[in-house]
């Protein structure tokens, strides 16, 4: 999988806390057996006024013309809470987002994002507030993401974000996590040979 390191783009402000995975991608779209094609259903209930996705909701941030080409999602705390569906980062990436910035994320969503080279960036509440203000004042505000430097730059300000070094390395290099684990096969075999009979 291709890695991600640098990304520059504009952001769309989704000013809602606790956005859950049922909102990101509702259940009726989970019946597919592929990883692709979920972008058009992203935020279905909020984004469309009808069930057939013919009538965009003009009040929803993603549908506003000024945010049409945004490639970064800016949102609030506990983003991605709820189910374990990996369809959530699949649909965000398929829509055209490269990263999501929020003050906090649900654990499973965060892990799923990392595993798809979809960058979840955690900033403080104050920093996220500043980004919301900048993006609302000027939707064309350019935001520069740098994973190596662990930085978000916008309007002459640079914010630092934390990320697990293992996640960072895997995302930059687009590493095959399974392939890396399988290199430890002898350790797995050794562990299995020592398991007690009741659990082996």
């Amino acid at each position: 999988m291709a890695g991600i390191n640098l990304h520059s783009g504009t952001a769309v402000p989704l000013d809602i806390a606790n956005v859950d995975t049922d909102q990101i991608i509702p259940k009726q779209f989970l019946t597919a057996v592929t990883r692709k094609g979920y972008g058009k259903h992203l935020f279905h209930d909020w984004r469309y006024l009808d069930l057939h996705e013919q009538e965009p909701n003009p009040d929803f941030a993603l549908n506003k013309p000024e945010y049409k080409n945004a490639s970064i999602l800016l949102t609030r705390q506990n983003f991605g809470c709820g189910s374990s569906r990996e369809h959530a980062p699949w649909s965000l990436a398929d829509y055209g987002f490269s990263a999501v910035i929020a003050p906090s994320f649900a654990d499973i969503f965060y892990a799923n994002s990392v595993n798809n080279q979809f960058l979840p960036i955690c900033l403080t509440n104050a920093e996220v507030d500043a980004l919301f203000a900048a993006v609302k004042a000027d939707p064309q505000t350019q935001i520069d993401l740098n994973l190596t430097e662990q930085s978000v730059s916008c309007d002459g300000q640079t914010y630092h974000f934390d990320i697990d070094p293992v996640h960072k390395n895997a995302m930059i290099k687009g590493l095959d996590a399974i392939g890396l684990t399988l290199e430890l096969d002898s350790h797995i075999g050794a562990y299995e040979s020592k398991m007690p009979a009741w659990i082996a």
Binding site: V33, S84, D107, D164, I178, T181, A197
Partner: protein, 467 residues
């Protein structure tokens, strides 16, 4: 150094570690139709195999009909997903409990029933409610599809160790107050994201007094507080539940297992990053009013005001939730009427849940204008309930008696609500649109759900006497 239960299970599963980057072994991999097809196709693309099909168990639960055993009853897309699971299991030698199998059911109901979940195990599934199995003192958590593929290929997962939280509930529950009310009260107290990045250990005399099924209800909703997993130390209840189950160990293996399980408790003085405590006597029957499980109050309280929220973000969430739920701040819960009732889901569809609901259902008849369905968690639960005559009580009271599955908890089948419908539900999530676009969900215990069905509005089960 004193170790917590979580430390003990974690340490016993470390295959390899490089600093904080740990590779842990997975003892049980539970799978279902929704989150696995892409993982199987990923394996195929890389010419990889399922390393331990003998540790992998499948069922069909999310996208199946609860009215018909026909695999295509919910349309061709659902059917393709179900058939794909069956084919993938066959190709890889994985045991499957398909639609129509007597032991089929919701994965988190059938796995314990079969005796697949043992104390001290690590258990994963592409489903956030995998936390259920922490009731056995197993470290159990939900994973995404990439991780499902990782477990298929290696029987391991790369993980950083979570922080730990102790949630202690002491005392004696009042009449009519259930495990569901305990966990909703906990989530109400710590918040919908209050345990993010933590593994919770539930302890205290009120937890020790719970049956295994009640403990499963508690651990099931751990994810609704944001936690990775929830654990309860195994005890005699756990051992008694497991003994003689189909997949549980026997003979000398059983004895060795029991001896080990008895060491699975937190040592005196074990460290927890966070500690929370509740008094069982303070917990009343709970009803959610909002659009996340942390937005909950006791049945005798009022719908809260935005002004009472602790910060601006919660205040905005409250305003949005009241609007979506079509409720007014300060409204009495008993003034809220419902037109749907759902009794089921991996939270509350086991035999004890159905007994509690039937006891209330038997007191009356479903109110005019209310549709109420009962969806047993598994084929085994259904059989047991029918042997006890519970199905008859429900049907006579005007409830529909359905086939096992996830059903209206998330509505991946045709059990979905219409815009504006209001449902008293024994499930685990009251998110916007969860049970159908524009539909409104209130999470409650099985007895509270049955009472709402009969009265057409929320009532306090404690006032029904018998219940």
């Amino acid at each position: 150094m004193a170790k917590s239960l979580f430390d003990k299970v974690w340490d016993a599963h470390l295959v390899h570690h490089d600093g904080d980057d740990c590779l842990i072994y997975i003892d049980r991999h539970l799978i279902h139709e929704v989150t696995t097809p892409q993982a199987f196709s990923g394996l195929k693309e890389k010419n990889r195999k399922v390393r331990r099909p003998d540790k992998t168990f499948a069922t069909m639960d999310h996208s199946i009909s609860t009215r018909s055993l026909a695999i295509d009853a919910c349309g061709p897309t659902n059917a393709l997903q179900l058939r794909t699971l069956a084919e993938n299991c066959q190709e890889n030698g994985i045991e499957i409990y398909p639609v129509g199998h007597q032991k089929q059911g919701i994965i988190h109901v059938i796995a314990p029933e079969l005796g697949l979940i043992l104390p001290g195990m690590t258990v994963v599934c592409g489903d956030s409610h995998t936390a259920t199995h922490g009731a056995f003192g197993a470290l159990a958590f939900g994973i995404g599809t990439s991780q499902v593929e990782h477990v298929f290929a290696s029987q391991t997962l790369k993980q950083g160790k979570s922080k730990s939280m102790k949630v202690q509930v002491d005392g004696k529950l009042g009449l009519g107050v259930t495990a569901k009310d305990i966990i909703l009260a906990i989530i109400g107290k710590i918040g919908h994201a209050g345990a993010t990045a933590h593994v919770i250990e539930y302890c205290g005399s009120a937890i020790e007094a719970l049956t295994m099924e009640e403990r499963m209800t508690i651990c099931n909703m751990t994810i609704e507080a944001g936690a990775k997993a929830g654990l309860i130390a195994p005890d005699q209840n756990t051992i008694d539940y497991l003994q003689g189950r189909e997949k549980a160990p026997t003979g000398a293996d059983w004895d060795a297992a029991v001896a080990y399980w008895q060491t699975l408790k937190s040592d005196e003085g074990a460290h927890f990053d966070t500690e929370v405590s509740l008094k069982a006597e303070d917990i009343k029957p709970q009803v959610t009013w909002g659009t996340n499980p942390g937005q909950v109050v006791a049945v005798d309280e009022l719908v809260p005001t935005p002004e009472s929220m602790p910060n601006d973000v919660e205040k905005t969430s409250c305003i949005n939730a009241l609007k979506y739920m079509d409720l007014k701040a300060g409204q009495k819960l008993s003034d809220i009427s419902v037109n749907n009732v759902f009794i089921g889901s991996c939270t509350n569809s086991r035999i004890e849940d159905l007994r509690a609901a039937a006891k209330v259902a038997g007191l009356g008849h479903v109110a005019a204008g209310v549709t109420a369905i009962v969806v047993p968690g598994s084929g085994q639960v259904k059989l047991q309930a029918e042997a006890e005559g519970l199905d008859k009580i429900f049907i006579d009271a005007g409830f529909e008696w359905r086939l096992p599955g996830c059903s209206m908890c998330l509505g991946m089948n045709d059990d979905i609500l219409q815009p504006g419908d209001r449902c008293a539900s024994t499930s685990n999530r009251n998110f916007e649109g969860r049970q159908g676009r524009g539909a409104r969900t209130h999470l409650v215990s099985p007895a509270m759900a049955a009472a709402a069905a009969i009265h057409g509005r929320f009532v306090d089960v404690r006032q029904l006497g018998e219940a």
